[in-house]
Symmetry: C2
Subunit: 160 residues, 2 copies
DNA sequence: CCGATAAGTATGAAAATTCATATAATTTCG
DNA sequence: CGAAATTATATGAATTTTCATACTTATCGG
């Protein structure tokens, strides 16, 4: 039935349309599609996605300050402040003012937070391998390098 | 000064950490970074990003129903309903019940909406070319095909 | 050293998004 | 056929997120 009321066809026959091959769409859609399953797992463990991102970064490097953690975790600063406070209340992290620069607040994993983070990182590795296995052959091997390069060029500060 | 209170280093020296080479992070971060500039442009023209996505899809194919438009535009259904109502109030689209299946609501661009969409699509093409030019050489050529393939495998329904 | 500017974080109101569910129409199939 | 299940959209309350800005501490220029 899906062709019964075939909506108006903009372009010619073979035309695929703009969006479905538009880089920004492909990036957003691929990100969503690739993440959906794992993010569902994250939520089942009682975390929101931004919280998982914070845990993952702290797993890599503990004691980051709020602003930088926000930048690398793709979270707006004032929101991260709120999230960190909630995570502290749940016993996942602690906040400590930086002695050198008392404007800064550094965030550290608690043991509980670290255990959770380690478990999730392990899951994430497994899930990542599954997703990458989809692309075995052709383009798979170059996807991560290409994304890294793009990121490096577009947002030099993000790592560095 | 950034090393004065060098945060605890989790891994070994050469170790880059988990997240910065994690596929789901690279996808999300690259998507954000690549989109940031253009999305700012969109907002300057008085649209939110989801509204732009809807316009772009309708530009390609007018008269989509709400549910499908939501799926392909990466917007949750009840939210899209609200957005479409607002866009209708702004004179960008019109809604029409489908005669064949009266549960469905199909969305059509108005002339105003179409003009806006065409302008934005033109801008998007230019911006996309700029972003892709960053990757000239190496990996650039295969990025879009790789993302398409990933998408196709992960979410077969989204097109087709 | 002082005033001005900048950097880092927090806060609250406003806006948005999500979630569960209501409502309505269609399809399935015994 | 007709009850049950399914599909499509809308709605409202609750939660999340954004935005502007306050507040504190640090840095810079003279």
């Amino acid at each position: 039935m899906q062709n019964a009321t075939a909506p108006h066809d903009e372009g010619a026959e073979g035309e695929e349309g703009f969006v479905s091959n538009y880089l920004l769409y492909l990036l957003a859609a691929a990100s969503e599609a690739a993440s959906a399953q794992f993010h569902a797992e994250v939520r089942q463990k009682g975390l929101r996605v931004p919280e998982w991102r914070v845990l993952a970064w702290l797993h890599d490097r503990d004691g980051e300050m709020i602003t930088r953690l926000a930048r690398i975790s793709l979270i707006e600063q004032s929101r991260l402040t709120k999230i960190i406070i909630q995570m502290e209340e749940r016993g996942l992290v602690t906040r400590q003012g930086d002695a050198q620069d008392r404007r800064r607040v550094r965030v550290w994993l608690t043991n509980k937070g670290r255990t959770l983070a380690q478990g999730l990182v392990a899951d994430a590795r497994i899930h990542e391998a599954q997703v990458l296995s989809i692309l075995e052959g052709g383009d798979g091997a170059r996807l991560k390098p290409a994304l890294s390069a793009l990121l490096r060029e577009l947002d030099p500060e993000s790592r560095g």
